[in-house]
Each structure stands twice: as structure tokens, then as C-alpha cells.
Amino acid sequence: MRDVIVVGGGLAGLVAALRLRRAGLHTTLVHMGRGGLQLGQGTIDVLGYRPSLVAHPLTELGEFCALEERRGGPTHPYNLLGVEPVRVGVGFLRELVGEAMAGDIETNVLLPTALGGLRPTTLYPASMAAGTVSLDPSDPGALHDGSRVVVVGIEQLKDFSCQLVAQNLATIELPGGGRLETRSASVSFPGRGTEADSNAVAIARALDRPERRRDFVAALGRLARRGETIAVPNVLGLTDETFTAIADGLGRPVFEIPLPPPGVAGMRLTDRLTDLARAYRVEMILGSRVIGAETGLGRIRSLRLGTAGHETDLEARYVLLAPGGFESGAIELDSYGRLHEPALGLPLAVPDAELLNDSWAGEQPIFRTGVATDCTMRVVEPATGEPVHENLYAAGGFLAGAQRWDEKSGEGIALASAVRAADSIIEQLKES
């Protein structure tokens, strides 16, 4: 029999499956499609706002949790987890991906965005390191007062306006004081053939090929001036070697700015973790929806998948759900205003206040809806705190209590809860 079925192919699901498999457990990962990790920016946000800008995510986590405690409603995942699991979860990802991720878990940095803003994050791909603005007074950071940046757009890539980015960036007062000096430029670089409209992935694939890369590096080299850092959209290859080759070829600092989906940096991370899962022999079942479960004696005995033509019942000792939140269809709101968890009909923790309000970019309490867990990440009844099933755990965006994009906490919660849930299962299996 399988030891564990993990549901969901995003950051939480992949990392949990790898954690379980590396502990020697027979682990099956079931996911509907490619996980949301590919739609993100390839960075690890632990805590960016509380709601003021966060410089030291772990140190400031206590204050954030205290504020969450006072707010009431579904318990925030960080209030259940505390600091140590965040450190362990992020540490485990670093162990898996090695040099591919840069940054320091103790200190946030700011990264330029595709609109020319600055946003906080904790870990970032090595290809974004030359674009970091420090939040630590003792560290000058890669970009600081007076740094000169040329923002280079690609004519065929409509998702990135180099003028917008350059002009907006130049208006921002940096945390350490002063401003960046920026200008914009563009190059022509179709991803495929002579197409007029390329997406980021097509350009990244073209740059993975040495002969196309040479042309691109030569074009960048021609337009950069002495002392300038080059900023380009996040297209520098699907493999990490491509960035290294381009940086070496230019011989000057260059960094990528994340784009709207499809995110090349997120895709690199997804591919890397998926390859690892494949190599470690996590059994992967892609393209089937979980449509129910067989339960008995307080446990889930098997999960039912809607495979083509017939249903498949997969038996397992433990189940770990990491299917994401509303945005992944793992939680639904019907036309009567009722909230559901469609796969297993799990009870949901719902905020008491009005779920949706008229504010456009502000907080929408509905997104704090999710499943409640205890501090081992076992799914519990929100009202009583009693386990729903003894062997059912949850992680990531499926958990109640967070406003991940407002807090910039999504990956931190995913990693901390995934590793905590996996370790809880590993401990339980060791005991039995």
C-alpha cells in the first residue's frame, strides 16, 4: 500500500512529496495540471508586509502573529507554525535547489517589478541578485543611491514596457536614501522565426540556444554604457546555465525582472522540483481530479480519482492535501454565496465578517477561507478543533487564515506547512 498520497503539484505539494520520499516513504503525487508555482515570480516570499514593509521576516513574525491574533477569524498558518518551521521549510528548499536560489532567510530585499515598483521578497533566483535593493543598513545592496540601470525591453515582448519600468523606478526613494538613475532601451529579438509577438517562454527557449544567445549578448553589449547595470525581463533561458553564459558574456551586472504569467523563473523552479521528484521516484499522476474518498473508522482509506473512462481508488496510509486555494479551484463559492471544498467536502474555516467588499485592490476576507489545522497540519473541524480524519493533513494555499498576496507570505507558508505536514506524517509512521 502507498504510504502517502500528496494532492497538488505546486510548491507545497512538490516539496512535501520530496520530503516524504526522501524519508523512504512510498509517495504518490496526484495533480490536476501544472502547479501554480509556474505562474509566480520564482521568488520565495516569507513575509513582505505586516502591513508595513518587513525587513527581517523571522524577527518580525511574532509581531505579525500578534496582530493576526487580535484580528480574530480563521487562525493564520504562521500563528500555528511559528518561526522554526519556516526556517526548516525554506532550508529544505535550499537543500533541494542549491545555488539556484540566493538570499538570506533573515533579511528581505526589494526587487524591481514589471511596473517599475519595488517589492519585498526573501529568496530570489541567482539571476535577480544584481537587481536587489537592500533593507539592511549594514549592507549596501546591489542597487543603491546613484546606481545606474539601463532597462532593456524586447520589441516582440508586449508584456514588458522598458520606458514604464525605467521611469517609475527612477521616482522611488530608496530605503537607504537616494534614487536610482535609469534609462530605457530596446532590442529586437523574436522568439520563433520572425514573429512579431513573442511570449517570454519562446524567447527563453531561443536564448537556451548558444547561437541565438550570442546575438542577444552582442546587442545588449552594444547598448550598455560604462558603469551601467542591465535590467532585462525574465527571459534569460529555461536552464540556469543560460543566465550564467549571458552574464559571463556581458562581463557586467545583469538581472531579470519578473513578468506576468507564464513566469520563466517559476517554470525553472517547477521543472527543477519536478525533475527531482521524478529522479527520487515519487509516483506522479498528472491530469486526474480527486473526486472523493472512502473513509471509515476516522480515517481516509482511499482517494478516488476521476481517471479517463473509470474511477481509480488509491489506497494510502496518509493523505496530504496541497491543492491551492480559490485561484486553483480547490475552494468554491456558489451562486448562493456558500463556500465549498469540492473534492472531499471538508469543513471550511470562514471569516465572520462580510466576505466580499467593494474595494478594488484592498483586502477581501473571503480569501482567508480555507481548511483549519492543528499545529501538526492535521485537518481539524474549525469549531471544535477535533481531527476530521486521523490521517489527513494539509498545506499551502489550501490553509485558512492568510491573505497571501497582500502579506507576501505565499511561499513561506507553503514551505513551512508542507515540511511540517510531511514531518508529522513521517513521525506518525515511525511510531506505528
Binding site: 501544472r34 507564464p262 486526474s288 473509470h310 486553483s328
Partner: protein, 453 residues
């Protein structure tokens, strides 16, 4: 996604009801729909999934055709995006370059039926000007019936360049396109002439009957795969029933010949149903299994009780054997085979949502390590890679896969469907077998180096 018969406007006899008002409204609003060969599909099922599309473009990043050519705008652009403007008529003719591999639907995290929408739209686009070539190459069982009696001559002819050039010019099948090897004996001939079933394992009790679905290629070309599947099943204690059977219609479906495909799949289900009620149906033709399991309904709207019944009973051979293994019912006293086997799970097998059972199955054999290709598609996509205008695209799609297979240094590779094996054989020069070949050898029933076809 499921809809009830009532919602689909179907009466009990499976015929569309005249009173289905939404469809009548649509037809009034868009007169062009009156002439739509997919009247059933156009009104619903897959179109309902359109609203699930959040334009995340994950499908674009995974599409194997988009990766290699600008001739195809991409699954989202020609699919969920263009579908809203189609109004019965195609707005983006690069749709023709979609290979119907289904990788877009498989990878969609929101459940949008991208490939299905595109297959339907292509059928509409080709209506009235279906190339002769597409009518010919979809006659898969006819090809087998014609070539088998003259196999040596056929194989000789298929290797003659001038003849292939002529075929390319007249019909439009590329001169270098991978071709099957004609066999002088079909699986039916073999079944007639063999001296009875393979002996059961010593002490093995009877496990009852299974129906074997051979598929056209498994009947006439990849006969060795069919033989080995039957023998392994018999070795394990099953009584293998091979009813006289026709084609599943997959090639017709992917070429937009829906009427032909519908009648083929319904007839096939009837043929297989003759093997007995509630009897499991096993097949080593992975993509044909997909046609019966879900594509007939999801792409062509086939609502036939027998097709549904056979689809629910059907298992790909590895899927069937691994389920036995998971239930503790598969003997694993395999002989050791020291071998690293590169393996490619075909797109249309992955699309069935069963994972990759062949990997775990083959690795039950001591000494075997399977290296999965990690590639979405080999390029051939049934008949796509045979066409003269698409051959280069199909080769470019397959190239990373060919390179990985060749770089592995292995002598033998594995892949679950027939046309994909032809493509990978041609692209690598390696022996490429169905995973059952490995299991057959590991049970000591043949040598691992026995013939692949």
C-alpha cells in the same frame, strides 16, 4: 466535467432532442452553425469549460508544437481565446498545425478542454475540403488488410525512395515519414495457427477471462506486442478472449472525419462486448484505449451505452498489471535483467490521467532502471507526423526525445503506443518495444532481445 443527459438535450435513445431551446436560439443567432458537423459539441460540453480559462498560458508553455514552430499560434490562442470569436467558423487557420496531442488539456490546472475544443474546431474548418490524403491515411485497418498478404513486397516498396517521392507528390505523405513494418501474419492468423494458449504458471489457479483489444496496429503491424500481451496474461492465469474486432476510429477523429470515427468506435465497442459482460478489457494500444475511454465522448459527443461500458472496463496493459501488483496479486519472481531502459509515455496515454504505470511495472524486474524521457510528445501524434507539410515540425518536436534516448547509450527503449514507437525507431535507430516485451522476458517467456515487431 459531467453533464446529465437531460442537460445535453438528449432523450433516452441518445438522439438530440428537437426542443433543446438554447441550441435553437444559437442556430437562429448564428446561421453558420446550421452547417456545423459538430452540432452536439458546438453547443456545449467543452465550450462550458471555456469560462474556466484564466489565461494563465500554462498550456502555451507546454505545447510541443508551439515550442518548435511559429506556424502554430498556440493552444490558448487558437483555443479558449479564438473559440469566443468562431461563431461557427474558424478565425485562426494555424489551428491546422495543432497535433491533437492533448498536452494542453493535461497540463491545464483549471480543467479547460483545450485540445478537445481545438479538435472540434478543426473538424469544422476542414469540412468541405478534406484532403484525399487525410481520408486515406485514416483507413488503418484497411491498410493492414491490404499489406499483410503481401508483406515482403510492401516492406520492399516502402523502402523505395522513388516510390515514396511519388506518394508524397500524389498523396501528401512525407517521403521520410516513419512507416510500420508489414507482417506476413496478423494476430488473427497467429491465434488461428498456434498450438493453443500459453501454459499457466505452475500452480496458478484460473483467474477467469479477459478481453484483449488488439488495435489496428496491434493486429497487423506490431503483432509481437499483441502476442506477448496475450502470452503474459495467459501465463498469469487469464483466459484471453480476442473477439473479431475493427478500428477504434482514432485516426479519423484526429483528422476531423467524425462521422466515420463515430461509427467505428460504436462498432468496435459492440465487437468487444461480445467477449462477455463485466469482463475486463485489456489493450496494449495506449492511444486507442484513450479513444474508447474518453475521446469519443469528449471530442465527438458519442453517447453510446456500450462505448461507455467498454471504456469503463478498459485498461492499458501496464495499468492492468500494476493494479494487480498493488493488490498483491502479481507474481514478481522475475528473472534479473541488467538494463537501463529509456522510456517515453505517449501524450495520449498521459492524457488518460493514470500516471505512468509502466515505470513502476518495469522496475519490479530486478536489475531494471527506467529513465523517463520527461518530454511531452514524440511528435508523430498518430498521423500528424506523416503529412508532408508537418513532417519537419513532428521531427523537431521529437528531436530532444531522440537525443535523450540516443545519449542514454541503451540498446532498447520502451514506449506504450505503436505510432510513437515507429517515430522513435526512425528517429533513433534503436529497438523500441512496448513495456510488455520486458515483462514477457522477465517471466522467462522470451529473450529480452527477441524481435520487437
Amino acid at each position: 466535467m459531467s453533464t446529465t443527459a437531460a442537460e445535453r438535450g438528449l432523450q433516452n435513445d441518445g438522439q438530440p432532442s428537437e426542443s433543446f431551446s438554447v441550441w435553437n436560439h444559437l442556430k437562429k443567432a448564428s446561421p453558420r452553425l446550421n452547417n456545423n458537423p459538430n452540432s452536439y459539441e458546438a453547443q456545449q460540453l467543452n465550450r462550458l469549460s471555456l469560462d474556466q480559462c484564466v489565461k494563465c498560458t500554462i498550456c502555451e508553455t507546454q505545447c510541443p508544437v508551439t515550442r518548435v514552430t511559429e506556424m502554430f499560434a498556440g493552444p490558448k490562442f487558437v483555443g479558449p481565446q479564438a473559440e469566443r470569436f468562431r461563431n461557427g467558423e474558424s478565425v485562426d487557420h494555424t489551428l491546422d498545425y495543432c497535433s491533437s496531442c492533448g498536452i494542453c488539456t493535461l497540463n491545464c490546472p483549471q480543467g479547460v478542454k483545450i485540445a478537445e475544443l481545438n479538435s472540434m474546431a478543426r473538424a469544422v474548418m476542414k469540412q468541405g475540403h478534406m484532403p484525399l490524403r487525410d481520408r486515406l491515411i485514416t483507413q488503418t485497418s484497411l491498410e493492414g488488410r491490404v499489406l499483410t498478404p503481401v508483406a515482403p513486397l510492401a516492406n520492399w516498396a516502402l523502402q523505395r525512395k522513388p516510390l515514396r517521392v511519388a506518394v508524397e507528390k500524389v498523396i501528401g505523405v512525407h517521403r521520410d515519414a516513419p512507416m510500420p513494418v508489414a507482417q506476413s501474419q496478423s494476430i488473427r492468423g497467429w491465434l488461428r495457427h498456434r498450438e493453443g494458449p500459453m501454459a499457466r504458471r505452475p500452480g496458478q489457479p484460473d483467474r477467469g477471462p479477459v478481453v484483449f483489444f488488439t488495435g489496428c496496429a496491434g493486429t497487423y503491424f506490431e503483432v509481437e506486442t499483441s502476442k506477448k500481451t496475450i502470452e503474459v496474461l495467459e501465463h498469469l492465469g487469464y483466459t484471453v478472449i480476442v473477439p473479431r474486432q475493427g478500428c477504434c476510429g482514432l485516426a479519423s477523429q484526429s483528422n476531423g472525419l467524425f462521422d466515420q470515427a463515430r461509427s467505428s468506435v460504436v462498432k468496435l465497442a459492440g465487437d468487444l462486448a461480445k467477449g462477455g459482460r463485466h469482463v475486463p478489457v485489456v489493450t496494449s494500444s495506449g492511444s486507442c484505449a484513450g479513444m474508447v475511454k474518453h475521446e469519443a465522448r469528449e471530442i465527438m459527443g458519442v453517447e453510446d451505452r456500450t462505448v461507455t461500458d467498454i471504456g469503463a472496463r478498459m485498461r492499458e496493459t501496464s495499468e492492468f498489471l500494476l493494479a494487480l501488483a498493488d493488490a498483491g496479486e502479481l507474481p514478481t519472481d522475475f528473472e534479473r535483467i541488467e538494463m537501463t531502459i529509456p522510456y517515453h509515455a505517449p501524450c495520449q496515454l498521459k492524457g488518460q490521467g493514470m500516471g505512468m504505470p509502466a515505470i513502476r511495472l518495469m522496475e519490479l524486474v530486478p536489475g531494471i532502471t527506467v529513465v523517463e524521457s520527461g518530454e511531452n510528445c514524440c511528435g508523430i501524434a498518430g498521423t500528424y507526423g506523416l503529412k508532408k507539410e508537418k513532417y519537419e515540425v513532428a521531427q523537431a518536436v521529437g528531436r530532444p526525445l531522440f537525443d535523450k534516448f540516443k545519449e542514454s547509450g541503451a540498446e532498447l527503449g520502451a514506449c506504450d503506443t505503436e505510432t510513437c514507437r515507429w517515430q522513435i525507431r526512425a528517429g533513433t535507430g534503436m529497438d523500441i518495444v512496448h513495456p510488455i516485451h520486458v515483462i514477457h522476458a522477465a517471466y522467462g517467456l522470451s529473450d529480452i532481445h527477441s524481435p520487437q515487431v
